[in-house]
C-alpha cells in the first residue's frame, strides 16, 4: 500500500502534541507500515523518523513464537499490550513495553494503529528517562539517492580501503532525496529543507568528514543488506560535538539512509533554540524594515574564480561582461522575506517575492553592479540610495543596505534591507524649497535696507554718462569740433554704462529667486564681492576695512549667492552696530585662515559696542532682533546657510572690544 502525500500531511497535522511526548508514539497503517514516528521514538530506538516512515515495523522487530498472532489479534480486539524486542540503530536489542490501539472510523471499519512504548525496566537499570537529553540522541537524518555514484562504488568494490579522492567523488555524486528539519537547520543555513532536495550531498556535508561518509557508503554497499547499519565516530565539526554517523541501505534500490547523532555544539537545549528561533523569526517578520534573505552562494564561487584569474577592478570587469549581471539577476534567489517586504513591493504573500532577485534591480541596474562589486571586494556591507519598482509599477526611493556573508562560511546568506524613503525625500525637498524661499526673502529684505546706497551707486555712473554726453554734444556743435576729445568722452560713456550695468547685475543676482547651486568657490573672492556690495555704505561712513586673506586656501563647495548673503549680512550688521553706537573710530577686520581640519575659517570683527551678554545665546534664533524695524531673520538665515554648507557659525565678543563672528566651512575635497 502506498501512502499519498496529502494523507501524510493530514496524519501529521494533529500530531504536533505527540512531537513533544516523552513516550514513544508510533502510528502504523493496517499493514504495519510506519506513518508517524515521534522524536521520543527516535530517542528510544535510535532510528530517525525520516528513515522509518513507510518502513514495516517488522524490519526492526524480533518476534517470539506467539508473535504471528499479534497483528490479527490486535485488529480484532482493537488493543494489544506486551513486551517486544526491537533492533536499535546501534545494532543492540532494545526491549520495550508497548500498548497498541486501533483507531476506528465512524463506519466501524478499522483505521490506523497507534502504539505507545517505553523501554522495559531491566536489572539494576531502572526506568531511566532518556528524554532528558534528547539532543544527544536525536538524529539529523538524510534519505539519499546513490544511483549516480553506483559506478564509482563498484569500480572499487573489490579493493580494500578506497582512496580519499574516490570517497569524496562518491559523496559529490550522492543526491539528497529528503532530510529532516533538524538536518536542514544544522547544515542548510536558512534556506530550508526544500532547497536541499535534489542537491549534491557534498554541498551540505562538512568537508572534513566527506571521505568518511564515502567510505561508509562503500562499506554498506559491500555488505549489501538493507537495514544493516555501518557507523563511524566523526571529529567534532563545530556543528555537532562528537557526532556519530550511521548509514544503511534502504529497501528500494540505490536508496541510502544516514543518521547523524550528536550534541548540538551549543549549550542551549533544542527546545530553547527552537523557541529563540521562533522569537527571532517573529521579530524579523514584524520588523518595519523590508528584509530579504538571498542565496548568492554560487556567485561567491564565480567571484573566487575571477579573482584568482587576477582581476582587481571588478567594476570595469562587469562593464566588459554584462552577462554576469544577467546571470546574477536570474540565478541569485530570494529565499525568505518578511511582511514589510511583501507590503512594500505590493505582493500578496512571500511567494510573490521568492525566486530570482532580478525584480529588485529592475529600476536601477547600477545598484546591482555596486552590490556585486561590494561582495567581490570583500566588504562587510554596502548601502546606497536607489530606486525600486514595485509589482504595481510604482517607483520608490529607497535606502538599500546589503550585509554580505562572512567568508569562509559555507552557509551563504546575504541579507538585503530596504527602507522606503520616498516620503522622507519629498519632505526634504519641500523643506529645501521653503528654506530657499526664506533665504530669498531675507536677501530682498537686506536689499531693502540698502536702497539708498544702491540708488546712489547707480546714480553716480548715470550722472557721469549724462554729463559726458552733454559735453560731447557741446564739442560737436562747435565750428572746429575737437574729435579726439569727443572720442575720449564717448569712451567714458561706455565705461560708465558698463559700470552701471555691473551694479545692476550684482543687485539682480541677489534679488533673483534661484535654486542653490553648488560650485567650487574661493571664499576670498566671495568676501571681496560682498565688500563691493557695501562699498558705498563703507566709504560714506568712513569705515576702515582691514582684510587678511590667506593664500592657498582650500576651495569650498557652495552656493555663491548664499555665501555672499552671509558675508553681506555680517558686514551690514557690523556697520549698523557701529553707526548706531556712533563709534568715533569705525573699523572692520576680515580674515580668512585654514582651520586645522583641512577646511577654512572666516572671521569678521568690528569696533562697535559688542553683543549684550543677555543676547549672545539667542542671537541666531529666528525672529530675534535688537534692531528697530529689523526682521530678525538675518543671522538665523546665516546660520542655516552655513550649516547647510557643512559648517558652524559662532558669535563672540572680542576681549579687546567689538563683536566677532566666525564661521568655518569644510574644503571642497572633503565633501
Amino acid at each position: 500500500m502506498t501512502i499519498s502525500r496529502p494523507d501524510t500531511i493530514a496524519a501529521r497535522s494533529d500530531l504536533h502534541i505527540a512531537d513533544l511526548a516523552t513516550e514513544s508514539i508510533v502510528i502504523f497503517d493496517q499493514d504495519g507500515r510506519v506513518r508517524y514516528w515521534n522524536p521520543a521514538s527516535e530517542a528510544l530506538y535510535g532510528w530517525p523518523s525520516l528513515t522509518m516512515i513507510d518502513q514495516n515495523i517488522d524490519a526492526i522487530t524480533k518476534r517470539n513464537g506467539e508473535e504471528p498472532m499479534h497483528w490479527p489479534l490486535l485488529l480484532q480486539e482493537g488493543v494489544w499490550r506486551g513486551r517486544v524486542r526491537r533492533r536499535h540503530v546501534s545494532g543492540a536489542s532494545i526491549i520495550a513495553d508497548i500498548r497498541q490501539y486501533v483507531r476506528f472510523h465512524a463506519d466501524g471499519s478499522a483505521g490506523e494503529v497507534i502504539e505507545y512504548g517505553r523501554r522495559a525496566p531491566s536489572g539494576e537499570e531502572s526506568d531511566r528517562d532518556d528524554w532528558n537529553i534528547p539532543d544527544r540522541l536525536m538524529a539529523a537524518s538524510w534519505e539519499i539517492d546513490m544511483s549516480a555514484a553506483r559506478s564509482l562504488i563498484e569500480a572499487h568494490a573489490t579493493e580494500g580501503s578506497p582512496p580519499e579522492a574516490l570517497a569524496i567523488d562518491i559523496v559529490t555524486a550522492l543526491r539528497v532525496i529528503d532530510v529532516n528539519e533538524r538536518t536542514a537547520r544544522l547544515v542548510g543555513g536558512n534556506r530550508g529543507r526544500a532547497v536541499m532536495i535534489g542537491q549534491s550531498v557534498a554541498k551540505f556535508w562538512p568537508i572534513e568528514s566527506r571521505a568518511i561518509l564515502g567510505e561508509l557508503v562503500i562499506e554498506a554497499v559491500a555488505a549489501g543488506v538493507p537495514g544493516h547499519t555501518v557507523k563511524r565516530q566523526l571529529a567534532s565539526d563545530g556543528i555537532l560535538r562528537d557526532p556519530i554517523v550511521t548509514l544503511w541501505l534502504g529497501d528500494k534500490p540505490d536508496r541510502i539512509f544516514v543518521a547523524v547523532n550528536g550534541t548540538a555544539d551549543d549549550d542551549r537545549s533544542y527546545l530553547y533554540l527552537r523557541a529563540s528561533e521562533a522569537r527571532y523569526r517573529k521579530l524579523i517578520h514584524y520588523m518595519p524594515t523590508a528584509l530579504l534573505q538571498v542565496d548568492a552562494s554560487h556567485m561567491g564561487r564565480i567571484y573566487a574564480q575571477i579573482k584568482s584569474s587576477g582581476v582587481e577592478d571588478f567594476g570595469r570587469y562587469l562593464d566588459d561582461h554584462p552577462e554576469l549581471l544577467d546571470l546574477a539577476n536570474e540565478t541569485v534567489t530570494v529565499t525568505d522575506v518578511n511582511r514589510r517586504a511583501v507590503d512594500m513591493f505590493g505582493g500578496d504573500n512571500a511567494l510573490d517575492l521568492a525566486g530570482p532577485v532580478g525584480f529588485l534591480f529592475a529600476a536601477n541596474r547600477a545598484t546591482l553592479k555596486n552590490v556585486m562589486v561590494g561582495r567581490f571586494n570583500g566588504q562587510p556591507s554596502h548601502s546606497e540610495l536607489t530606486k525600486v519598482r514595485t509589482f504595481d509599477g510604482r517607483i520608490l526611493d529607497v535606502q538599500l543596505s546589503v550585509t554580505y556573508p562572512i567568508p569562509p562560511r559555507e552557509l551563504d546568506v546575504t541579507i538585503f534591507s530596504i527602507q522606503d524613503v520616498t516620503a522622507q525625500l519629498q519632505i526634504e525637498a519641500q523643506l529645501r524649497q521653503l528654506q530657499a524661499d526664506f533665504t530669498h526673502a531675507a536677501r530682498i529684505s537686506t536689499l531693502g535696507e540698502l536702497t539708498t546706497s544702491i540708488a546712489h551707486e547707480v546714480n553716480q555712473p548715470l550722472a557721469a554718462i549724462l554729463t559726458n554726453a552733454e559735453t560731447s554734444l557741446r564739442w560737436l556743435s562747435k565750428d572746429d569740433p575737437d574729435l579726439a576729445k569727443v572720442a575720449q568722452l564717448t569712451t567714458r560713456i561706455v565705461a560708465g554704462a558698463q559700470r552701471a550695468n555691473g551694479i545692476v547685475q550684482r543687485i539682480r543676482g541677489m534679488a533673483t529667486k534661484h535654486q542653490p547651486e553648488r560650485t567650487k568657490l574661493d571664499i576670498n573672492e566671495v568676501a571681496q564681492e560682498a565688500l563691493m556690495f557695501l562699498r558705498h555704505e563703507i566709504e560714506t561712513r568712513d569705515i576702515r576695512i582691514a582684510t587678511t586673506f590667506a593664500h592657498r586656501l582650500p576651495k569650498v563647495t557652495g552656493d555663491r549667492i548664499q555665501l555672499q548673503q552671509v558675508i553681506v549680512n555680517l558686514l551690514l550688521n557690523a556697520i549698523q552696530a557701529m553707526t548706531a553706537a556712533q563709534s568715533a573710530d569705525c573699523a572692520i577686520a576680515i580674515a580668512t585662515t585654514t582651520d586645522g581640519n583641512g577646511g577654512l575659517s572666516f572671521s569678521i570683527r568690528d569696533s562697535g559696542p559688542g553683543i549684550p551678554a543677555t543676547d549672545i545665546d539667542r542671537i541666531f534664533e529666528g525672529f530675534f532682533t535688537t534692531k528697530e524695524g529689523g526682521l530678525g531673520i538675518g543671522l538665523g538665515i546665516c546660520q542655516s546657510i552655513i550649516m547647510g554648507h557643512g559648517g558652524l557659525i559662532h558669535a563672540l565678543n572680542h576681549p579687546e572690544g567689538g563683536a566677532e563672528f566666525r564661521f568655518n566651512l569644510p574644503s571642497a575635497s572633503s565633501n
Binding site: 540708488a455 546712489h456 546714480n459 553716480q460 555712473p461 548715470l462 550722472a463 557721469a464 554718462i465 549724462l466 554729463t467 559726458n468 552733454e470 559735453t471 557741446r474 564739442w475 576729445k485 568722452l489 567714458r492 565705461a495 560708465g496 559700470r499 558705498h536 566709504e539 560714506t540 568712513d542
Partner: protein
C-alpha cells in the same frame, strides 16, 4: 572781466569729476577737481576759486561739513551742492549755510550751468 572764472569740483567719484571737468572746460571755465574735502582744503589757501561744486556723501568730511567749515573760516565762496542724496534736512541745512543751489544727480547740464553762471 577778462579773467576766466575758476571752478573747484569736490567729488569722491572719479568718473563724475572727469565728466564735470570736461563740461567746465568746454564751457570756457577754468577748473580743478579734488577727490575729497581734505584735498580741496589743502589747496584752499593757494588758489582762488569763483565757485565750488561739491558732493554731499563722501568719505571723511561730507559736503555739508565742508560748507560749514568754509563759513566758519569766514569764506563767502559761492557753493553749489550736487548730490544724489534726497534728504530735506541736509538740503535745508545747506541752503541755510548760504549754498547757492542744491541739485540732485543726475542734473541737467543747462540747469547746472545756469546756476553756476548765476553764482559767479
Amino acid at each position: 572781466m577778462s579773467r576766466v572764472p575758476a571752478v573747484a569740483i569736490v567729488d569722491d567719484d572719479e568718473a563724475i569729476r572727469e565728466a564735470l571737468e570736461d563740461l567746465m572746460v568746454v564751457e570756457g571755465f577754468d577748473c580743478q577737481a579734488f577727490d575729497g574735502a581734505a584735498a580741496f582744503l589743502a589747496d584752499y589757501d593757494r588758489t582762488h576759486f569763483d565757485c565750488l561744486i561739491t558732493d554731499v556723501r563722501m568719505p571723511g568730511m561730507s559736503g555739508i561739513e565742508l560748507l560749514e567749515y568754509l563759513r566758519s573760516l569766514g569764506s563767502r565762496l559761492p557753493v553749489i551742492v550736487l548730490t544724489s542724496v534726497i534728504d530735506e534736512q541736509s538740503r535745508a541745512r545747506s541752503l541755510a549755510l548760504g549754498a547757492k543751489a542744491w541739485l540732485t544727480k543726475p542734473a541737467a547740464e543747462n540747469v547746472l550751468l545756469g546756476e553756476l553762471r548765476r553764482a559767479i
